[in-house]
């Protein structure tokens, strides 16, 4: 009996259960978010959105997913085959792995690493590589344009993101995400560092290629940007990665600024998800309200405004902490 209990408690089982949970969460989350996006956009545009499949179109994303999975995997002739095949996988895996360190509640965290936040930031940069791989291997001018734009955009917006996160880390003194959440048991950091929150949300919108910063996917200019040549299940993977990225970005913002799983009465997990989805709704709200920012304005905005602001924020944080 002791052996059985030890076995169940071991890290291996812990991680396996976590992995299965994450895959389930990612799939369901993506389906749910796609449906939410369609409904939110529809209601903002004075129309009902999907209503046919299931009650209020709830099964629409499932139907779309089945359709995408059943499509033939077409590989255009002129593409660079190894890189073309790898790109969707490279875009999806890091996002999946970021789930390892997110604290869904006090106990629900797959692996509470010492370098939690650094891991997530590192993995989010890998998706840029995947976009470049997709755009380049497609052998298509539109895709290359989309990829180039995406790389420039992501590089530009990584820096204020990192510096903003640094100001939070300075306050907490640890990279562990559970420590960051624990430090917010009295007040959430959004009230202590509102500027950092604004900067983070702006950079997160840009990092996840969401409107108004969605130039790499600009439909009306570049057909479909870097994933023009992808169809069927490969396209579905890009799509899945994008929505999961939105979830991760909102989850990190929740952990850093909104107190993670803290909240009265309801269990931590429920609060966590409420906060994450509130931020996701905010990101969707942005998409359906604003026109697209032009590319040079986008890059200028980051280098000339966001980066100086984030450094100012960091300096003020350091100064205040020193004074204490």
């Amino acid at each position: 009996m002791e052996h059985a209990a030890q076995f169940l408690n071991s890290t291996v089982v812990h991680m396996l259960v976590g992995l299965i949970g994450v895959i389930a969460l990612v799939s369901v989350n993506a389906l749910f978010l796609i449906w939410v996006e369609r409904k939110v956009s529809a209601h903002m545009q004075l129309r009902p959105g999907p209503m046919e499949v299931g009650p209020h179109g709830a099964l629409q994303s499932l139907a779309d997913a089945i359709k995408l999975m059943s499509k033939e995997l077409i590989t255009p002739d002129e593409v660079d085959k190894p890189i073309y095949w790898l790109a969707p996988i490279v875009v999806f895996l890091p996002v999946l792995l970021s789930f390892l360190v997110i604290p869904f509640s006090q106990t629900m965290i797959i692996r509470d690493m010492n370098v939690g936040i650094v891991l997530i930031l590192a993995f989010s940069t890998l998706s840029v590589l995947a976009i470049l791989m997709a755009g380049w291997s497609s052998n298509n001018k539109y895709s290359v344009f989309g990829a180039i734009r995406s790389v420039a955009q992501n590089v530009a917006y990584e820096i204020p993101l990192l510096v903003t996160v640094m100001s939070i880390i300075l306050m907490v003194g640890s990279f562990k995400l559970s420590d960051i959440v624990a430090a917010q048991s009295q007040t959430w950091f959004i009230f202590i560092q509102p500027l950092a929150f604004l900067l983070f949300i702006t950079c997160a919108t840009a990092e996840t290629n969401r409107a108004p910063f969605d130039l790499p996917e600009a439909e009306s200019e570049l057909v479909a940007g870097f994933h023009t040549e992808y169809s069927g299940m490969r396209f579905a993977l890009f799509f899945l990665a994008e929505y999961t990225n939105i979830f991760i970005a909102s989850a990190v913002a929740t952990v850093l600024f909104l107190g993670g799983w803290h909240g009265p009465i309801l269990p931590g997990v429920i609060w966590f998800f409420i906060k994450v989805y509130a931020l996701v709704f905010l990101l969707m709200w942005f998409r359906w309200t604003f026109p697209r920012v032009r590319f040079d304005q986008l890059v200028n905005f980051s280098w000339k405004i966001l980066i100086p602001l984030s450094f100012v924020n960091l300096l003020i944080t350091a100064f205040v902490l020193k004074l204490r």
Partner: protein, 371 residues
Amino acid sequence: MIELYGIEEKTYTLNLGPQHPSTHGVLRVLLEMEGEFISKAEPVIGYGHRGHEHMAENRNYQQFLPNMGRVDYLHALAYNQGYCMAVEKLLGLVVPERAEFIRVITAELNRITSHLLWFGAYLLDLGAFTPIMYAFDDREHILDLLDRITGSRLTYCFYRFGGVPVDLDDEFITGTRAFIQRLRSRWVDYDNLVTKNVIFINRARDVGLITKDQCVKYGITGPNLRGSGIPYDIRKSEPYSAYPLFDFEVPIGSKGDIFDRYMVRLQEMEQSCRIIEQALDKLPNGPIMAEKVPKRIKPPVGEVYQAVETARGEFGIYIVSQGDVKPYRVKLRVPSFANLSLFPELAVDTLVADLVAILGSVDVVIPEIDR
């Protein structure tokens, strides 16, 4: 080709193909680019050439009437009006006052639908997905109103030589008045959502400048011309139909950038509302068709040029008659033809994103260019 440290740089050719979400019809633009900057843009047209002018020579004057609604389907009633007025000039027909008022009311309603569609589609090009839905919602009301009396939603063929065939009924009049009230409350929404949006202003200010000199050299007309500060509107400068009886302004811009053209179109919609209200207030009783309209339309030998102001600019129709039931030659002078010919000059040294913005702000409808 630039020689840089012994490496030759070539420009990069990109094709904004005939099928593209932003080219508003079947337009192909051949771009030569250096990085993200355009060095040369050449529009290629003719994908929608249907031979309207040839059809005119092989049909009676009445049989050619429906064609006019298909040339520019967005402001079809103005083209109807131009053609009818040209033939009426040749025949010496006088249109009764009530018919002129009806023509003005319906043409102005059509102008509002055209500008609303431009507004929605232009914002869609810039990446805002919501304004088009609101604009089309408003547009649906107008289409329902016009559907009641003309029988069509888009490609109207409503006017006849000598007047209009169907009179306005009370439901149309009350519906139109109610709609104008509703539309006026929408201006606030459009203002808050778009006009005051800093992202939109940054994309529209100081981009795509059209100078007055270019306007004269290329024959630019319509909101593009008025955005550059020249107050030329045919309804005021060469008044026709019942327009002299109404009090309205001609909005103009100052710099000639995209934002000015956008504001001109928005303000024109408000001025159209004013015209419609005045027309409904002053609507006279009387016949809607001229008395002696010949059964066989056989104008005497001669020629005529008639200009009307459409949503896109000046539509001119030039008819040469040699005394036959069919016109000898019909030339359709469409505003988008001249407006698009300026585009290569506007596009030099801009970014691809700006290219789409400039093309949209010029408001071209390809079927009227191709005829």
